[in-house]
């Protein structure tokens, strides 16, 4: 039952050919390694050349050195783009202005706009939108405004963030309109975006105090706290008194503490007895931030009956008041339950 030897010869030949191909590839690989080593050295020289020119440029001779960057070698675009974006985001004034001009003249901005218009890859598009914001070129505004109407929430969000980075206040109403339409689950992601507009965002944010969506009221209060506008303190305090949503209440408390006004400290203390744990925790943290001596006794009183997490936050706040806080805690030790005792000891030990 012997068969022809031909199939075996074919098998042998194919295997040997594959092996020879492998060996060739390995020789190529080593050749490539050597070439890369040489290339890396050259590339490093060129890279340092760019770096040197940029640093010269930063020390005050812009126009001439921009020319040095105008004919980059193929494959270097990414590096140059990152370098210039670094300049745009690290500096202000003339340096930033020239760097943005460079990105516009050299077509880096247009390239990103093209990707945003044509790419079907969600990720590449997102990255281009993000980079366009980092380039801070006014040229990018119109395409970014268009993108605000995209279906993907992440894309809309990135476009809004890029617009906030560019910082043209004329785009703020469009972003606020978008925020109005956004479902509640996306709202929190707009914090950084709107806060970038600073005080320009105050009026639309205060208007939002009456919004039906608790998430949007929460956002407005949180941002007002971050902007730290002293004129808004009473408005936030009034909202705290009438608010029913725990998350918004907690945000009001935090904002009041960030604005640092002691007028509302008693009102904040009352919320240590709120039924919601998050509000209580926000209170404990707020009282730590305000550091008003009157708050110490309020916190000590609330300590025994508070839930574990609240106790933990209260203790951290009390200890933060320094010696006075620690003395009160030590005095409280004999009257406390075992679990609280342990926690008090532990917190004091950590603080030490």
């Amino acid at each position: 039952m012997m068969m022809s030897d031909l199939p075996f010869q074919v098998v042998t030949a194919v295997c040997v050919i594959l092996f020879v191909i492998c060996l060739t590839l390995i020789i190529l690989l080593f050749g490539l390694k050597l070439f890369r080593h040489y290339w890396d050295q050259r590339f490093q020289k060129r890279f340092f050349f760019y770096e040197k020119h940029i640093s010269d440029w930063l020390t005050g001779i812009p126009g001439k050195d921009l020319d040095a960057l105008k004919s980059p070698h193929i494959g270097d675009h990414e590096i140059i783009e990152k370098l210039i974006i670094g300049v745009v985001n690290r500096f202000t004034g003339t340096f930033r202005h020239h760097a943005i001009q460079f990105l516009e003249f050299e077509g880096y901005v247009k390239r990103k706009i093209k990707i945003i218009k044509k790419s079907r890859n969600h990720y590449e598009k997102a990255l281009a939108i993000d980079r366009l914001g980092l380039m801070r070129s006014q040229e990018g505004i119109s395409i970014l405004l268009e993108v605000l109407n995209e279906n993907q929430p992440e894309i809309r969000l990135l476009a809004a963030r890029s617009l906030s980075r560019i910082g043209n206040t004329n785009t703020l109403p469009e972003i606020m309109k978008l925020l109005e339409k956004e479902p509640d689950r996306n709202v929190s992601r707009y914090i950084g975006i709107i806060s970038a507009f600073g005080r320009n965002a105050l009026i639309p944010l205060i208007d939002m105090f009456n919004n039906r969506s608790a998430e949007k009221r929460w956002l407005a209060v949180t941002l007002i706290g971050e902007i730290r506008d002293p004129n808004s303190i009473d408005l936030v305090g009034k909202l705290l008194v009438r608010e029913t949503n725990s998350k918004v209440k907690a945000a009001c408390i935090k904002s009041l503490s960030l604005m640092g006004d002691i007028k509302w400290v008693n009102e904040i203390g009352k919320f240590l007895n709120d039924s919601d744990e998050h509000v209580q925790i926000a209170c404990a943290k707020a009282l730590k931030r305000i550091r008003h001596p009157q708050s110490l006794s309020t916190m000590i009183q609330a300590l025994p009956d508070a839930p574990f997490q609240v106790q933990y936050e209260l203790l951290r706040s009390i200890v933060d008041y320094g010696k006075e806080g620690k003395t009160l805690l030590v005095a409280e030790l004999p009257n406390s339950k075992d679990s609280l005792k342990n926690l008090i000891r532990d917190t004091i030990r950590v603080a030490a």
Binding site: M1, V11, V16, F19, C22, R131, Y312, L343, D346
Partner: protein, 469 residues
């Protein structure tokens, strides 16, 4: 006698065809992997991890780490996990009834306090003794549970506690690179609606320089067995799984380093506690579930995010590991035999499941008996020289080609072993392993099949030297 000779001859031909088919399939997967990795690398300059993953796009992730008798490594590995470059994540460590000081070390080093919280719902697991939170790291929780003898049960206990919709399953001795989490989440960011699981590459930590829980200089171990596993892992992960991923037909995402969607994992009942190959079991059941639900989905493997792990350096420990893996594989294959040539499962039914069933599952029986048959036939002159040469080419030379291709793929792409000395050693080992290691490995798999058929064997302990260097 002539009749006997004919039977032996036919059997030899069958074995030859088997080896040719197996290695050709490997070659096919390697080519697919090459294409996939090329595509991945072309897009790498646009990765922009720093920008895009800074906050907005990145879904939060829960890292679930089961630990059992990990007193040597636990402080280092958990400490490492708490310092990853990622915007929002939590670490849930499950102490699976360790008999050593694992829990004490965790309590002391991470300042744990017992919480009243108990997992409220979800998957059935062994008794939970306590849940701890860290006073120092708000994103760290530790579950202390009774040991039920399976890693799956421990992961399920962690799953009952996780907060986020993606979780990363990780081994207690695994070392992640700083940006591994960012890299493994990227397919989810690109396609948030469809990607339900992502696997990353597991590499061999033996011999690497490790400082403060990070691999600072990858290099090869002095142990030949460990280096042979480097080649083996490259072949399996870089060449094999990347290729399967291109067809959305990956059946294995290593439980040592795999990202899964929490809701779907819970929908399929989590990791199967009685299964030894719990990671393969989960991925296969996810495929089955998603196809039953007629939902579009992707299970992806990417070779860039790296997790380093310690591998056995003695044949004794290696044998235990491989027999366990093989038994687990056989269990899963038998449980999902409905996939075999089933058109409902697309390429999985027609190509991948049959491949696993024939070659990865029962193949070791044919390999061991084939080698023996060939030696006996050659000794008694029952096969001619041309057949013998063809047989050796199809088994050893073709095997060497595949090992070298895996090495080449590595060197053309990720180049984790840049030192010239390591490269030369890898080439030598890639050739040498085909002369004994693969046969020994087949023998261990063969024993694993016997264990499966006799329903014997248990987890056994991996003897660790500690990865702290």
């Amino acid at each position: 006698m002539e009749y006997f000779g004919s039977i032996v001859w036919v059997l030899n031909i069958v074995v030859l065809i088997y080896f040719l088919s197996l290695n050709s399939l490997y070659l096919f997967f390697t080519i697919l992997s090459g294409l996939e990795i090329r595509k991945y690398l072309q897009r790498l300059p646009y990765s922009g991890y720093d920008y895009i993953f800074s906050d907005l796009m990145t879904p939060p992730v829960s890292i679930v780490v089961p630990v059992y008798n990990e007193e040597l490594n636990v402080e280092l590995t958990i400490g490492n996990m708490l310092h990853l470059k990622y915007p929002k994540y939590e670490v849930v460590v499950v102490n699976d009834g360790s008999k050593d000081k694992t829990l004490d070390i965790l309590i002391e080093k991470f300042r744990l306090v017992k919480m009243d919280t108990r997992p409220t719902s979800g998957l059935t697991t062994a008794l939970i003794r306590a849940v701890y939170s860290s006073l120092e790291y708000p994103n760290l929780r530790v579950v202390d549970k009774e040991n039920e003898g399976s890693k799956a049960d421990a992961i399920n206990a962690g799953l009952n506690l996780v907060k986020y919709n993606f979780f990363l399953s990780l081994d207690g001795d695994a070392i992640l690179e700083e940006d591994s989490l960012l890299k493994i989440i990227r397919p989810v960011v690109e396609n948030p609606d469809e990607v339900i699981a992502v696997g990353g590459i597991v590499r061999v930590a033996n011999g690497c320089k490790i400082e403060k829980g990070r691999v600072t200089t990858p290099s090869l171990s002095k142990s030949t067995i460990a280096v042979m596993q480097v080649i083996e892992y490259l072949r399996a992960f870089l060449a094999g799984r990347t290729g399967l991923s291109r067809m959305n037909s990956n059946l294995i995402i290593s439980g040592a380093f795999g990202l899964f969607r929490t809701d779907y994992t819970k929908a399929v009942g989590g990791f199967r506690a009685e299964s030894i190959g719990e990671d393969m079991e989960l991925v296969t059941s996810l495929h089955a579930y998603m196809r039953r639900q007629k939902k579009r989905y992707k299970i992806i493997f990417i070779a860039d995010p790296v997790c380093w792990t310690e591998v056995p350096e003695t044949l004794k420990v290696l044998q235990r590991q491989r027999r366990r893996w093989q038994k687990g594989l056989m269990q899963v294959l038998s449980r999902y035999k409905k996939m075999f040539f089933n058109p409902k499962y697309g390429p999985i039914g027609f190509l991948v499941y049959p491949y696993f069933f024939i070659f990865e599952g029962w193949g070791a029986l044919l390999e061991i008996s084939g080698y023996l048959l060939f030696i006996i036939s050659f000794a008694f002159g029952l096969v001619n020289l041309k057949f013998a040469v063809a047989f050796l080419c199809a088994t050893i030379l073709f095997g060497t080609v595949l090992s070298l291709l895996a090495f080449i793929l590595e060197e053309f792409t990720f180049q984790r072993y840049p030192r010239f000395r390591d490269m030369i050693r890898l080439i030598c080992i890639a050739i040498l392993e085909n002369f004994w290691y693969r046969q020994v490995s087949s023998w261990f798999r063969f024993m694993g099949i016997i264990d499966y058929l006799m329903n014997r064997g248990s987890w056994g302990d991996m003897q660790r030297k500690g990865i702290g260097g």
